[in-house]
Amino acid sequence: MTEDTVLPAQREQVTVGEPLLEVSGLTKYFPVKGGFPIKRTVGHVQAVDGIDLTVRVGESFGLVGESGCGKSTTGRLITRLLEPTSGSIAYRGKDISRATRRQLAPIRSEIQMIFQDPYSSLNPRQTVGKIISGPMEINGITPEGGREKRVRELLEIVGLNPEHFNRFPHEFSGGQRQRIGVARALALEPKLIVADEPVSALDVSIQAQVVNLLQKVQKELGIAFLFIAHDLAVVRHFSQRVAVMYLGKIIEVGDREAIYNRPRHPYTHALLSAVPEVNLTDDGESAGRERIRLAGDVPSPISPPSGCRFRTRCWKAQDKCATEEPPLVRISGNQEGHLTACHFPEEPTTEARDEDIVLDPALVALEEGAGE
């Protein structure tokens, strides 16, 4: 099993910019059981529904969206913690979406995961040293100088005291535990780390420590990241390219500049405008952001709207949106690599509009009442 495993030293050098992970048509349906007298599948939660994305060598690719959009499921599909319903996941050109455990073995070490909850993702009965060296043991890797030396090295890299390898997770604070999680992910010198909400359970001041650590890891070790988060500002800070998901689909993807400054999809506009921001300019100039307030919550992924899935909450929706699903393409006015799935895209700016878009009926009623 370990014969095929690529040892760190033998790894061929790959240049930055080459595709490392190519996902196409990736789909995951979770069956919904019910019925009488015999339980059967009565529907599906369309958690991820045919998404394409590419993560290049050494880059950080951000995946943002609200709860239920399928971003976490995507991460779990790519690390093969879940079996895809259909679609392909190509890692360095090799499809791993149907690979068996044995076939996956050499690749497992190259794709690692960091989880959201640093409290539950570490085994409380194992010492930190054991946790971090676990992946090396499972994959039968003994680095030069022994595993213990490597564990100390890793602890040092993530900013923990290397002498603490004999301690247990409960002896560390939340931020430190997340560092342990990072050290474990780094143990096998991965090429790709899937980080699922790695900082959202942490306090603001600790969050920044972990973001900086991940950034250091990404830049210095050249590890590519699939960075999954709901916090748009954190994703912007960390990722060079970003995809926005809504109800199991990628609705817009592009480099950071395009998504944050020249978004085209109405949902991207709504998301960005919803982020509460500290206005730090002395003259209050940056108050000039557009204000978009959607109505209601995200619909159920069991029976998503036909056509464009955002149309039920979209202010630009027309009949065409219900009948025809917009393809994720480079629409006119978009730069290279900026794809948008929308029939009636917005202007590429986030500046304030002449009139706010307020769809929430309660807000409309209250604001009109106040205006009179």
């Binding site: 306090d203 950034q215 500002a233 995200v298 009623a365 209250l366």
Partner: protein, 355 residues
């Protein structure tokens, strides 16, 4: 060395109709490991119709303070000292009966997670109607009508039907709206919102925050808004109080605290928070270390173990370790640096990193 013997100075003399005033509040929990001083000498004021944002990380005492205002801690394990005066009435010494009359009526609260905060066993309508029936002494039917009216106000479509639903039949955003309806049903003077949008998605959060602001216009309640998110506080509050390890470390208006912050902790918060318009080449500068355990809080200034500016404090070496800095009234920060130092450090060292 010196220890603090006198309470923090009285703040906010510029709040003429300040109707909530808290003075030198101390809250101590007895735990198996020993007493935990969750709030240690806190004073603040709130005027009618204004919003005070309390910002801080977990363990800063921001939630504890506000549960204390409503007397919601279990008296078996909690020792409370100091003074909480709401509209001339002292609350710490008030009887349980008096507090019941006040809660949900003159002072109401919105909690973080509407799924667990609403009871799963009763309909949304009933849960909203209950306090109205109790405090306004109206019939069940009148209270139900009021509940439907409130649900309509907070934007629940088809409120008459939805009032009969149970909380689990509502979506997350709708549950929080129902929670707001419940809090506002008796038209309270004081509304305490404890991280009301933390569990919500960002687009829903934006709706709820705007809703709260619009409703405040209509109801005129004073709001204490508790959050860890500086963006939310900037959006919601008129005044800000920054808390750290059971103390208030800085207070002022939103503009003062966010545009010219004076306390190293506030600087740290601002510097560790990525923004949509921040410069991408500047790395975040986090606060080193982690928040202290309140079982054994640091001596002197509680922030000193994480503070990178303490060597610049004038006077005896180790002043930050020995002497607890006081928070003055009005615009103030609890730090031994001089006012000039605070201004210069912010302008020269902190602000450039916020670009």
């Amino acid at each position: 060395m010196t220890t603090v013997t006198k309470p923090e100075g009285a703040p906010a003399a510029n709040a003429p109709d300040g109707f909530l005033s808290v003075r030198d509040l101390q809250v101590t929990f007895s735990t198996e490991d020993g007493p935990v001083k969750a709030v240690d000498g806190l004073s603040f004021d709130l005027a009618r119709g204004r919003t005070l944002g309390i910002v801080g990380e977990s363990g800063s005492g921001k939630s504890v303070t506000n549960l204390t205002v409503l007397g919601l801690h279990n008296p078996l394990f909690t020792k409370t000292d100091g003074e909480i005066v709401l509209d001339g009435k002292e609350l710490i010494t008030a009887t349980e009966k008096e507090m019941e009359e006040l809660r949900g009526n003159r002072a109401a609260m919105i909690f973080q997670d509407p799924l667990t905060a609403l009871s799963p066993f009763y309909t949304v309508g009933r849960q909203i109607a209950e306090p109205y029936m109790k405090h306004r002494k109206v019939s069940k039917k009148a209270a139900w009508e009021r509940a439907v009216e409130m649900l309509a106000k907070v934007g629940i479509p088809n409120p008459r039907e939805r009032a009969k639903d149970y909380p689990h039949q509502f979506s997350g955003g709708m549950r929080q709206r129902a929670m707001i309806a419940m809090a506002l049903v008796c038209d309270p003077d004081l509304l305490i919102a404890d991280e009301p949008t933390t569990a919500l998605d960002v687009t829903v959060q934006a709706q709820i925050l705007d809703l709260l602001k619009d409703l405040q216009q209509e109801f005129g309640s004073g709001i204490i808004f508790i959050t860890h998110d500086l963006g939310v506080i900037a959006d919601m509050a008129d005044d800000i109080m920054v808390m750290y390890a059971g103390n208030a470390v800085e207070r002022g208006t939103v503009d003062e605290v966010l545009r010219a912050p004076q306390h190293p902790y506030t600087w740290g918060l601002l510097n560790s928070m990525p923004r949509l318009d921040s410069d991408l080449d500047t790395p975040l500068s986090p606060i080193p270390g982690s928040p202290p355990s309140l079982l054994h809080p640091p001596s002197g200034c509680r922030f000193h173990p994480r503070c990178t500016f303490q060597d610049r404090v004038a006077g005896a070496a180790g002043r930050c370790v020995d002497e607890r800095p006081l928070l003055g009234p009005d615009r103030a920060s609890a730090c031994h640096l001089t006012a000039d130092q605070k201004r210069t450090i912010f302008i020269e060292e902190i602000k450039p990193r916020l670009a």
